[in-house]
């Protein structure tokens, strides 16, 4: 089974279909994304509500002061200049705070591929943790939904337990946690099947190699030819004369 078919088989459907596979930073060339998850939208909704409240607050306060006190801002007063500047900075930094939270939300991703599980967590601007785990090492996957809000909106945590004493991988506040857990297990099983197929293929190839008949002609060894001797460096040794009158390098056989 090819990898393309595998990734197509474990493409999430139904309520997880909005998490369609994408590309992500540090993706390997032959790696297929099965799931790409962010926190649930309610996390960002809180920031949006905060932003709206902070935008509404100054005009509300000014209106209350205007209607219930003697407060009045005359356009050409020092107070007017100061107020315009302070409000301008207030609005800029309120929106910057929201944008900062959005970047934090947007950069926190969890990716399940056909090879590994990657967790990219950004805390602040200069603190980034990227951890990954081979999908074959997964032992069990637990989904957890806590409280009324999470139950009502169907989001929660997914815990991935690996072999050994490593800390659990936790997907925090992800939508549809039970389906995410199912997809991770499916990807894990698919990876195991692929691994087994690979091992079988390797052992078959080895067996085929060993099954080759012994009588098959092996390539002829090249005859040995000594290197040409250099007359300038080769020392001439004269043949030895033995006691029995013979001569040569080998001594005569002992007479019994």
């Amino acid at each position: 089974m090819t990898q393309d078919t595998t990734s197509a088989l474990i493409t999430p459907t139904g309520s997880l279909s909005e998490h369609k596979p994408l590309h992500f930073p540090t993706q390997r060339p032959n790696e297929h994304v099965v799931l790409l998850l962010r926190r649930h939208w309610t996390v960002l909704a809180r920031d949006v509500i905060q932003l709206v409240l902070s935008l509404i607050l100054p005009p509300t306060v000014l209106l209350i002061l205007y209607f219930y006190t003697n407060f009045a801002i005359v356009p050409e007063t020092p107070l007017y200049v100061l107020l315009v500047m302070v409000l301008s900075l207030y609005y800029l930094f309120s929106f910057l705070a929201f944008f900062h939270d959005f970047v934090d939300y947007h950069l926190d991703i969890w990716v399940v591929t056909d090879q590994r599980v990657v967790s990219i967590e950004q805390s602040g601007l200069f603190n980034r943790v990227v951890s990954e785990l081979t999908i074959l090492r997964i032992q069990d996957v637990t989904s957890e939904i806590k409280g009324k809000v999470q139950t009502f909106l169907d989001y929660g945590q997914v815990h991935i337990q690996t072999a050994g004493e490593q800390a659990r991988f936790v997907f925090e506040q992800v939508p549809h946690p039970s389906e995410v857990a199912k997809v991770i297990l499916q990807a894990h099983e698919r990876a195991i099947q692929q691994d087994e197929m690979k091992q079988i293929r390797q052992s078959e190839a080895y067996r085929q190699e060993m099954k080759q008949p012994l009588g098959t002609p092996s390539p002829q060894p090249m005859p040995y030819t000594p290197p040409p001797s250099n007359p300038m460096t080769t020392r001439h040794i004269p043949p030895r004369h033995h006691a029995d009158g013979s001569f040569g390098d080998t001594p005569p056989a002992p007479q019994i």
Partner: protein
């Protein structure tokens, strides 16, 4: 204690400088490390447009301020109720 108006402008510009620096870091992270998809692009664009709008409106509202004039720092609280006007008749150096 007399304070020239341009001191307020300098303080404001320092604040805008800090804002721009943080904005740059945020946008850089969004483009470099994130998946710069539709949501990222939309939020980035809205943020930039909003920031430009706020700065432009501020400069329009403050365009008539005589920056070289001075005001009494300790008269600011009383000016809240009285509405003391800026002496914009000319630059008093």
């Amino acid at each position: 204690m007399s304070v020239p108006y341009y001191i307020l402008l300098i303080l404001y510009l320092v604040g805008v400088g800090v804002f721009l620096m943080w904005m740059f870091f945020n946008l850089y992270h969004l483009i470099k490390f994130g998946l710069f998809d539709f949501t990222g692009k939309l939020n980035g664009t809205i943020f930039i447009l909003f920031s430009i709008a706020v700065i432009v409106v501020t400069f329009i509202l403050l365009s008539g301020t005589p920056w070289l004039d001075t005001f009494e720092l300790f008269s600011l609280p009383s000016g809240i109720l009285e509405g003391t006007k800026i002496n914009s008749g000319g630059f008093e150096l």
